[in-house]
C-alpha cells in the first residue's frame, strides 16, 4: 500500500478543489487583486520620489517583490489552512478515506488542486499586468518579468505546502487559522528582524565575523527571503539598494540553486504533512 499511488484518484480530488475555486470566483478575485496591485505599484511606485509612471522593469520588479512577499504567502496560507482539518471538522474526512483512496492521494490531490488555483490566479493577475506593461517595456525585460511571475508561483506553492502541513497537524480550524497567521507573521515580518538582531548580538557586526558567513545560509531558511534574493540579486541597482551585495555571496545566488531551495520548501512541509497524516 505504501507505494500504491493512483494518479486518477489524485486527479479527482485536485479537480474538485480547482473547480470549487473557479466556481466561487476565488481564482478570478485573487487574479484581479494581483493585477490591480501590480499595476498600481508599477505606476505609482516612484511617487515618493515625486514622479509617477512606468519605469524600468528592474525597478518595477523590485517594487512588486515587496508586494508579493506580503500578499502571496498570506493568500496561500488562507487557501490551504483548512484543507484537511476542514474535512475532519465537517465530518467528510472519514467518508473520503472510506473510498478507494489513500491518505497520500488525498493530501496530494488537495495540494495540487489548491496549487493550480493559486498558480492560475498568480499567472493571470501578474500576467495581465505584464501584458499592460509590455506596451511600455522592451521585450527582453518581459523575460525577466516572466521569471518573477514563475518565482511568485513557487513562493505561493511553498507557503501552500506549509498551510497544508498546518491543516494536518491542527485539531480544529480555529487553531489552524491561528497557526497559519502565526507562520505569516514569522516568515514575512519577524524572521528577518530576528536574524539581524541575532547576528548583531551574536557576532557584534555583519562585516566580517562568523555571522556574516552564516547569514546567507540562514536566509535560505525563509522561502520569502529566497524569493527576494532570486528576484533582487540579479539586478545591480536594486541589489545595492537592498544592501545585498555586501552580505550575500554571488555563488549562492544562482537561479538553479535558489530554485532548488524553493522546491525543497515545497516538498519538505508536504512530506512532513504526509508523514503525520499517515501516522
Amino acid at each position: 500500500m505504501a507505494f500504491d499511488l493512483q494518479l486518477r484518484q489524485i486527479g479527482v480530488i485536485a479537480g474538485k478543489e480547482f473547480r470549487d475555486r473557479i466556481r466561487n470566483r476565488w481564482v478570478l478575485a485573487v487574479a484581479v487583486v494581483f493585477a490591480a496591485f501590480a499595476l498600481a505599484i508599477a505606476y505609482f511606485g516612484a511617487a515618493q520620489q515625486g514622479s509617477v509612471g512606468f519605469r524600468s522593469i528592474e525597478v518595477t520588479i523590485a517594487s512588486l517583490v515587496s508586494l508579493v512577499i506580503y500578499l502571496v504567502p498570506l493568500i496561500a496560507l488562507i487557501l490551504g489552512f483548512d484543507a484537511i482539518v476542514g474535512e475532519r471538522e465537517r465530518g467528510s474526512l472519514d467518508l473520503l478515506l472510506s473510498m478507494p483512496l489513500t491518505r497520500l492521494e488525498l493530501l496530494l490531490g488537495k495540494f495540487l488542486g489548491l496549487f493550480l488555483a493559486l498558480a492560475c490566479s498568480t499567472v493571470l493577475g501578474f500576467g495581465l499586468a505584464g501584458v499592460l506593461l509590455a506596451t511600455q517595456l522592451p521585450t527582453a525585460a518581459l523575460y525577466h518579468y516572466a521569471g518573477f511571475v514563475f518565482s511568485a508561483v513557487l513562493l505561493g506553492a511553498a507557503f501552500l505546502s506549509l498551510a497544508v502541513m498546518v491543516s494536518v497537524f491542527a485539531s480544529d480550524r480555529g487553531r489552524a487559522s491561528s497557526a497559519a497567521i502565526g507562520l505569516w507573521f514569522f516568515f514575512v515580518l519577524i524572521f528577518d528582524l530576528l536574524l539581524l538582531g541575532g547576528l548583531v548580538l551574536g557576532a557584534g557586526d555583519l562585516g566580517g565575523g562568523w555571522g556574516s558567513q552564516l547569514f546567507p545560509y540562514l536566509l535560505m531558511l525563509n522561502p520569502a527571503d529566497v524569493f527576494r534574493i532570486a528576484n533582487i540579486f540579479g539586478v545591480e541597482d536594486v541589489r545595492a539598494m537592498y544592501g545585498l551585495a555586501t552580505v550575500f555571496p554571488e555563488a549562492l545566488a544562482r537561479p538553479g540553486l535558489l530554485g532548488a531551495v524553493m522546491v525543497a520548501w515545497i516538498v519538505l512541509p508536504l512530506a512532513v504533512a504526509v508523514w503525520r497524516f499517515r501516522k
Binding site: 500500500m1 500504491d4 479527482v12 474538485k16 465537517r90 465530518g91 467518508l95 478515506l97 472510506s98 478507494p100
Partner: protein, 323 residues
C-alpha cells in the same frame, strides 16, 4: 463470555462476509476495542449498539480500514481490510458516517458524481438513486439548501453508489421524520433482499428492534451480547408485562383480588399492581402461557376491556446487558 442465543461470538460454523478475529485497539492505557470476535453473514441486517464510548464507532472505523488495528484481523468480503487489496474491498462498500456534512457548494447530483468518480463506478444511476431516496426534485439544488433530513437521504444515496455488497451506516436515521425513517428501512430491506449485508449503529433502539436480524451489544470495548432480539430477550429472561384495562363499572380492588385468587396457584415471581383503571402483571417468561390461561375466564366474564402482553423492549434488554 458473550451472552445470547448464539453462545459464541461466531454465530455459526461458516465464516461471515465480515470476519473479525480477536480485534483490539488500544490508545495507550485506553482499550477502545478489547478482543472482539464476530462474524456477520451475507444478506444480514446487523445492528451494533452500545453506550457512548463502548467502542462501536472505533470498531466501525476499523471495519472500514480507517483506524489501524492494534492486534487481530478483519476480513471483509474475503479480503483483509487493511491489506494491499484495500481498494478492491472499498469498492464493494457503502458508508454513511454519523453527522456527515457534504460540500455546500455542490448540488446533490454533483455530490453523487464526485463520490462515484472516487469510487471508480459510473454515475449514470445517480438520477435513479436520487429518485429512490426522495430527492429527485432537489437533485440539482445546492446541498446548502438541503434540510438535515435531505442531507441524510443524500448520504444514503451516496452509500448506495456502485451497488455495494456491504453497507455501513452510522446513526443513519438522524434527522429523518417518521415517514422518512420508514422509507429508509424499506430501502434497507430491499438492499438486504438483494443480498447486501448491512451493519448499522443506532441509539434509537425502538427503531431497530423489529428491523435487524441480529445485533451485538458492546460494552467497554467488548461484545457483551450477540444474537437476535428475541434470543437476547430469552437469554436475559426479562419478565413479561401484562396490561389489563378494566371494563366500565368494574372496581380495580375487586378485580385485583379476583386476579390474585386466580393466579395464586402459579409459581412465584408473578407480581400484580393496580394503576388507576389498569392492572399490571409482571410475569417470568416461562409463566407466560399459564398466566394467559388463568386470565381466560376473567376476560370471558367481561371484567377486562383489553389485555396487552408486552415483550421486554430492546431498550430493556440493552440496559440489562450494559447497565
Amino acid at each position: 463470555m458473550v451472552n445470547g442465543m448464539n453462545g459464541s461470538a461466531s454465530s455459526s460454523d461458516s465464516v461471515g462476509v465480515i470476519s473479525i478475529r480477536d480485534v483490539r485497539k488500544h490508545y495507550g492505557a485506553v482499550r477502545a476495542v478489547d478482543g472482539v470476535d464476530l462474524d456477520v453473514h451475507a444478506g444480514e441486517l446487523f445492528g451494533l449498539i452500545g453506550h457512548n464510548g463502548a467502542g462501536k464507532s472505533t470498531l466501525f472505523k476499523m471495519l472500514l480500514g480507517l483506524v489501524p488495528l492494534t492486534t487481530g484481523s478483519i476480513v471483509v468480503d474475503g479480503r483483509p481490510v487493511h491489506g494491499e487489496l484495500f481498494r478492491q474491498v472499498r469498492r464493494t462498500l457503502g458508508y454513511l458516517p454519523e453527522n456527515v456534512v457534504f460540500y455546500d457548494n455542490l448540488t446533490g447530483a454533483e455530490t453523487l458524481s464526485f463520490f462515484a468518480r472516487l469510487k471508480g463506478c459510473p454515475d449514470d444511476d445517480r438520477e435513479a438513486l436520487l429518485d429512490r431516496v426522495g430527492l429527485a426534485a432537489a437533485g440539482h439544488r445546492r446541498v446548502r439548501e438541503y434540510s438535515k433530513g435531505m442531507r441524510q437521504r443524500l448520504g444514503l444515496a451516496q452509500a448506495l453508489l456502485g451497488k455495494p455488497r456491504l453497507l455501513f451506516l452510522d446513526e443513519p436515521t438522524t434527522g429523518l421524520d417518521p415517514e422518512g425513517i420508514r422509507e429508509f428501512y424499506r430501502i434497507l430491506r430491499e438492499q438486504r433482499d438483494g443480498g447486501t449485508t448491512i451493519i448499522l449503529t443506532s441509539h434509537i433502539l425502538s427503531e431497530i428492534q423489529e428491523r435487524v436480524d441480529r445485533l451485538a451489544i458492546m460494552k467497554q470495548g467488548r461484545i457483551e451480547a450477540l444474537g437476535s432480539v428475541q434470543s437476547l430477550r430469552e437469554a436475559m429472561n426479562l419478565p413479561l408485562f401484562f396490561v389489563l384495562r378494566l371494563a366500565d363499572g368494574g372496581g380495580a380492588a375487586a378485580a385485583q383480588a379476583r386476579l390474585r385468587d386466580t393466579l395464586g396457584d402459579l409459581a412465584g415471581g408473578v407480581e400484580i399492581a393496580a394503576n388507576g383503571r389498569e392492572l399490571h402483571i409482571h410475569s417470568p417468561r416461562e409463566a407466560k402461557m399459564r398466566v394467559l390461561a388463568a386470565l381466560a375466564p376473567l376476560t370471558a366474564d367481561g371484567r377486562f376491556a383489553d389485555v396487552q402482553v408486552r415483550e421486554p423492549s430492546l431498550e430493556d434488554v440493552f440496559l440489562g446487558y450494559s447497565g
